[in-house]
């Protein structure tokens, strides 16, 4: 520790701390623009110049390390003169357009100008004008306002890791622009909007919709990936207008992924359901809750009474609240049905008994940063879990080894120490080779290299992701991943898609386990079994059946086979209209209280930021009333908190959980024909994201085309378009040749209309040239 004096106050400061941090801790705010605690120091705005005893010139507080005995004046005449001079320089070329600037009211320059700016300008020359690059559908630019702090450039280089922004030009000609004028494609790009201290970079979807001071900030937890990023929903007149990060070092730091930031635009989609819908002889009609709820209850009751509880099943999307999962499974089990499923994009269930209590990291996201070896298997971490990937990236920059075994070489924003590109059916085999190499056996170059890095590491972590989850080989992959982990003393983290899958597992929304992993008296049918042996009644929670299933065709058949379908849904859907009997409008997580349990096992509760549109209601309330109407015990909750308390008590009661040992799963055979790889765009994962116009216009939005390796393209005759699938269940899509795809595979987009009729995109698929 160093003892220093700031403005006459004696302060203890951490060795190596910069003056600006020490001063902030002591309660002295030093004005600044370029400094940001998460970015490297530029010391270029010069706004934080302070007077340091014995220094001939004022020094930038952001770049001056504390030293024992230092005496600092942050507001002496000399310091203030320097700060005011810098403010004058910043303002001479800055437009006086605050009234029409979207940053107005939350602008660092505007705020500090009040304290440090002059009343009258001395600058009588013409002001600089700068052209605006098009950075894409998310970030609006007004570069004449730029004060060249380079926070955006440093963020994109240091945190996003893509170096898509730069500052070419010298002197006054220096300007911020994108690499070759292209759009910024980073999945974290929106953070530059928060970082920009002026109105140069603003939110394109949000701008001109409200003034900062009109907004109410409501805390929320993002539900698009397993991190549960903390955010603020800024609301006005009952509408969510934008999302901003809410600082939480343990979760998302001060960042948000673009998905978490811009998904809220999907809340206002035209096809939101606002009124309960009932199917009559004449088709659909709107109804009141007082009519719809008894009808739904009666429908469920009839199935149970006439066909037995076993003939009822519930399906939930993987991004519902813990409370909803808990009540859903409670309702189903009380009605005598064990068939509760949320793993709608999972392709294989063979090892489900060996799964841990809930999937996830089993450690804090921060701990990832201290990791030393990561092996990603069937995992496009960067797009699946953007902010976990950021933690891994930081670890790699600190010397950790990141490795990947994937069916596609996805562009990484950090170097990979070893990489294998194999078909999904070969993922488990590639892992087996690594395990073999770890056991001292012979192995190929990359497998040996992977084994070496894993062996040398103290905390090797094997990340199995959504790409593995979506295939029929998941059981084999997980079993082999466990072998590798055992051989190198590491751990396996299974990171399925969905914003709240951990909560679903924990709350018992799986067919083979009760709450908190408790023994299920009857093991229910998992999704594939339901597809094979449909039931008479279905209760759907938050599902858009066309898009939320790995196999929309099978899902459609399941719905068709059911005699009665009750759907709680936030968005309208043709398949629901076709097959459901009652559709109850559902509030999204942004509009209701709930709890997210993230991949680190952290429980994060939130309140609704706004009321749901129309008559839409939170799922927990609907399920609670259904419980009452069905005369079930234990449904007398008055608040979401009470539901959560019951879940928590059940979890506490359950104590330690011991899964069954991993079964020996035989290595799968590669299919004889072309093998499908399901490509789930990060902006296709849930109904809200799919309806966010800015995200659907972004570069990561789903593209209706297939991709194959040049060698396979050659074998197929290099067609422009291909027909994938068989007969009626086929689709014609453009073909792109991409050498990053494993040979023998075809990458087919899932969760888009064009491929909805295809079966599960895993295993063999027929591909032929199309006209």
């Amino acid at each position: 520790m160093a003892t220093i004096e700031i403005n006459g106050k004696v302060v203890e400061a951490r060795d190596g701390a910069m003056l600006i941090e020490a001063a902030a801790e002591a309660g002295f705010a030093i004005p600044h623009f370029c400094y940001h605690r998460k970015l490297t120091i530029a010391a270029s705005c010069r706004m934080c110049l302070v007077e340091v005893e014995k220094a001939p010139k004022p020094l930038p507080a952001c770049a001056t390390p504390v030293s024992d005995g230092m005496k600092v004046q942050t507001r002496s005449p000399k310091a203030l003169a320097a700060q005011k001079a810098v403010m004058e320089f910043l303002l001479i070329n800055h437009p006086l357009d605050c009234p029409i600037c979207d940053q107005g009211g939350e602008c660092d320059l505007q705020e500090l100008a009040v304290g440090y700016g002059g009343d009258v300008t001395r600058f009588a020359e013409g002001k600089r004008v700068v052209g605006d690059p098009d950075l894409g559908p998310l970030i609006a630019t007004e570069m004449t306002r730029c004060i060249h702090c380079t926070r955006c450039v440093r963020f994109i280089a240091e945190i996003a890791g893509t170096r898509e922004l730069g500052a070419p030009g010298r002197g006054e000609h220096m300007h911020i622009t994108s690499w070759l004028g292209g759009q910024v494609g980073s999945e974290l790009s929106g953070n530059v909007i928060d970082l920009c201290p002026v109105g140069a970079l603003t939110s394109k979807p949000f701008r001109f919709r409200a003034r900062a001071w009109e907004l109410n900030a409501r805390p929320a937890v993002a539900m698009h990936d397993g991190l549960g990023a903390n955010l603020w929903f800024d609301t006005l007149r009952g509408q969510v207008l934008r999302a901003r990060p809410r600082d939480n070092e343990a979760v998302n730091e001060c960042w948000l992924s673009d998905r978490d930031r811009f998904a809220c635009a999907g809340l206002h989609s035209d096809d939101r359901l606002r009124q309960p819908l009932l199917r009559d002889r004449n088709g659909w009609r709107e109804a009141g809750w007082d009519e719809a709820l008894p009808r739904a209850a009666q429908l469920l009751r009839n199935i149970v009474d006439n066909r037995g509880g076993e003939q009822l099943a519930a399906l939930a999307a993987p991004s519902q609240s813990a409370e909803e999962y808990y009540l859903l499974q409670k309702l189903l089990r009380a009605l005598g049905s064990p068939h509760i499923e949320h793993r709608l994009r999972q392709g294989c269930f063979t090892a489900q008994e060996a799964m841990p209590l809930m999937p996830g990291l089993g450690m804090a996201p921060e701990a990832l940063q201290a990791g030393d070896a990561f092996l990603m298997v069937g995992c496009h971490l960067r797009k699946e879990q953007p902010l976990l990937n950021h933690r891994v990236r930081q670890a790699v920059l600190n010397g950790a080894a990141a490795m990947a075994i994937n069916p596609v070489v996805w562009p990484s924003n950090y170097p990979l120490a070893a990489e294998q590109t194999v078909a999904p059916s070969r993922l488990a085999g590639a892992l087996a080779e690594v395990a073999q190499a770890l056991a001292g056996g012979e192995a190929g170059g990359e497998a040996a290299a992977m084994a070496e890095r894993l062996r040398d590491a103290e905390q090797p972590l094997i990340l199995v992701g959504a790409v593995a989850q979506m295939g029929e080989y998941l059981g084999a992959i997980l079993a082999q991943a466990m072998q590798v982990a055992e051989a190198c003393g590491g751990r396996v983290a299974f990171l399925p898609e969905g914003g709240n899958s951990a909560a679903a597992w924990l709350a018992g929304a799986v067919p083979h386990r009760g709450v908190a992993g408790s023994h299920a008296p009857t093991v229910g049918k998992h999704l594939r079994q339901l597809y094979a042996e449909p039931v008479a009644g279905l209760l759907l929670l938050g599902i858009e059946p066309e898009r939320d299933s790995l196999d929309p065709a099978a899902m459609a058949r399941l719905l068709e086979a059911a005699e009665g379908v009750v759907a709680l849904a936030a968005y309208d859907s043709p398949l629901l209209r076709e097959h459901a009997d009652v559709i109850l409008p559902l509030a999204t997580w942004a509009e209701s209280a709930g709890t997210q349990i993230n991949h680190a096992g952290l429980w994060q509760s939130y309140r609704g930021a706004v009321a749901a549109p129309g008559e839409a209601r939170p799922g927990w309330k609907v399920l609670r009333v259904l419980g009452n109407l069905l005369d079930l015990d234990g449904f007398d909750f008055n608040a979401a908190d009470e539901v959560l308390a019951e879940l928590r008590a059940a979890v506490d009661r359950q104590g330690a959980f011991a899964p069954t040992p991993w079964p020996a799963v035989a290595l799968p055979d590669a299919p004889a024909s072309v093998e499908a790889v399901a490509a789930l765009s990060p902006y296709s994962v849930d109904a809200m994201v799919r309806r966010s116009p800015p995200l659907q216009a972004a570069s990561d939005a789903p593209q209706p085309c297939c991709r194959v390796h040049p060698a396979l393209a050659e074998r197929l005759g290099r067609p422009q378009r291909v027909r994938v699938g068989d007969g009626a269940a086929s689709a014609v899509l453009a073909l792109e040749i991409d050498e990053r795809v494993a040979d023998g595979c075809i990458v087919v987009p899932t969760a888009i209309a064009e491929t909805a009729l295809l079966g599960a995109l895993t295993g063999a698929i027929s591909v032929e040239q199309a006209a």
């Binding site: 120091i41 530029a42 010391a43 270029s44 705005c45 010069r46 706004m47 110049l49 001939p56 010139k57 004022p58 930038p60 770049a63 390390p65 320097a82 001079a85 810098v86 004058e88 320089f89 910043l90 001479i92 070329n93 001395r122 600058f123 009588a124 020359e125 600089r128 004060i147 060249h148 730069g166 500052a167 070419p168 030009g169 010298r170 002197g171 006054e172 000609h173 220096m174």
Partner: protein, 428 residues
């Protein structure tokens, strides 16, 4: 008493050839130092005795600078030669590389030996094609002769050298911008600390010296620090090359002992062009404050002598200005230069240089306002001392010194909308 150190071969035919340099005791010092495995600390002492100060402009004592390097510390270290020579008014390094490139190479090898660097870079001004060819030729000759490369003369000491051509940015003469440029980045100065001696090229300890500084080292070691010191005067050891330009009869480079009176230097350059009256001198390159002619005639050409006259020796670029020059126009030209060459990184320089240049331009074109002169002084004062590197000061100093010494010319411009020089007889 001239051309004793860096220009000592200039009178010889093909002085840049290895054979000629060898003939003039070239590389003897390096061979001796390597053969005897001389103690680097003793060599630094010799430099300290010589009072050699950095010839690039800042005048930092070279011996002291080299002593900052942790010679024994593990890992790569670098010696970098700043041959960017971008300061308007200077052209001395160009001639060292044209006529005596081997002495620079020997100096860099010695520097490498002392600071423990096995790798050197010469950051050479991109427009200097002939000096590049001469230096590149000399490097290849030295390499072929075993004077560069690995295990030099069987001593176990490795040292090699490469040239990196600049691309025309003045700021890349600033040593940390120069390092960025070698690394392939945009040439922008780094914030110091850390200084290059601890975090330099590619993050490794690095010493950066000017061409003339490094080329002086072999002669200092050969003749001893005392010899060099006595060439000049206390605290101002050795000779210095002055690039005399502007209104003189014989512009050019003159290597003379430090402490030579300006009047003598002016005489060597043939006096003021056409016998006209000396109006002013910018003694150290365009960034140093201007000194009125009469005052300059009393000055001795050394670090301390020029400092006493309120300016700086800088890179020794003496710009002689006669009575026909409009000081407003001259300042407009200088201010435009700094406006164009500011890297744009930090606020006062990026915004301030453009402001200064526009106001001076306005005054020059008859659009001046009464309040402009105080404004200029204030804006220059707001830039100086508040920027990451010295370019801010370099832009501010001419403005402040021109206003201090020639305010009447600026006032005349503002009042009459035209130039005092030539238009009307000089008053006063």
């Amino acid at each position: 008493m001239a051309n004793d150190v860096c220009f000592r071969l200039n009178h010889l035919d093909r002085s840049w050839a290895l054979a000629v340099y060898r003939d003039q005791h070239g590389y003897e010092v390096l061979e001796q130092v390597l053969r005897e495995q001389r103690d680097p600390a003793r060599l630094i002492d010799e430099l300290k005795t010589s009072a050699l100060r950095g010839r690039g402009g800042a005048g930092f004592p070279t011996g002291l600078k080299w002593s900052f390097m942790q010679r024994g510390a593990p890992g790569q270290k670098y010696i970098v030669c700043n041959a960017d020579e971008g300061e308007p008014g200077t052209c001395k390094d160009r001639d060292i590389m044209r006529y005596n490139p081997h002495q620079l190479i020997e100096g860099m090898a010695l520097a490498g030996y002392v600071i423990g660097a096995t790798r050197g870079y010469v950051y050479l001004r991109g427009e200097f094609w002939e000096p590049y060819e001469r230096l590149q030729g000399a490097i290849e000759e030295a390499r072929a002769a075993g004077l560069l490369g690995s295990n030099l003369l069987g001593s176990g000491f490795d040292f090699d050298l490469d040239i990196h051509l600049g691309a025309g940015a003045y700021i890349c003469g600033e040593e940390t911008a120069l390092l960025e440029s070698i690394e392939g980045k945009k040439g922008q100065p780094r914030y110091k600390p850390p200084f290059p001696a601890s975090y330099g090229l590619y993050g490794r300890p690095t010493t950066i010296n000017n061409v003339e500084t490094l080329a002086s080292v072999p002669e200092i070691i050969r003749h001893g620090g005392q010899w060099f010191l006595e060439l000049g005067k206390p605290n101002n050891g050795g000779t210095k090359i002055f690039s005399v330009s502007g209104h003189v009869e014989r512009p050019g480079n003159y290597e003379v002992p430090l402490g030579t009176p300006f009047a003598e230097l002016l005489e060597m350059a043939g006096g003021v062009l056409g016998g006209r009256r000396l109006k002013a001198v910018i003694p150290g390159g365009s960034s140093t404050p201007v000194v009125p002619g009469e005052r300059m005639m009393e000055v001795t050409m050394d670090y301390d002598g020029i400092a006493k006259a309120g300016s700086m020796l800088g890179a020794g670029s003496v710009i002689v200005i006669d009575e026909t020059v409009c000081m407003v126009r001259l300042l407009a030209r200088l201010s435009h230069f700094y406006y164009e060459e500011s890297c744009g990184q930090c606020t006062p320089c990026r915004e301030g240089t453009g402001w200064l240049a526009r106001v001076v331009h306005r005054i020059e074109h008859g659009q001046g306002r009464a309040e402009d002169l105080d404004l200029l002084d204030s804006v220059a004062g707001n830039i100086g001392g508040r920027t990451i590197c010295a370019l801010g000061d370099a832009a501010a100093m001419p403005v402040q010194s021109f206003l201090k010494h020639f305010r009447d010319e600026f006032e005349y411009h503002i009042e009459h909308g035209r130039c005092m020089v030539g238009a009307t007889p000089a008053h006063g």
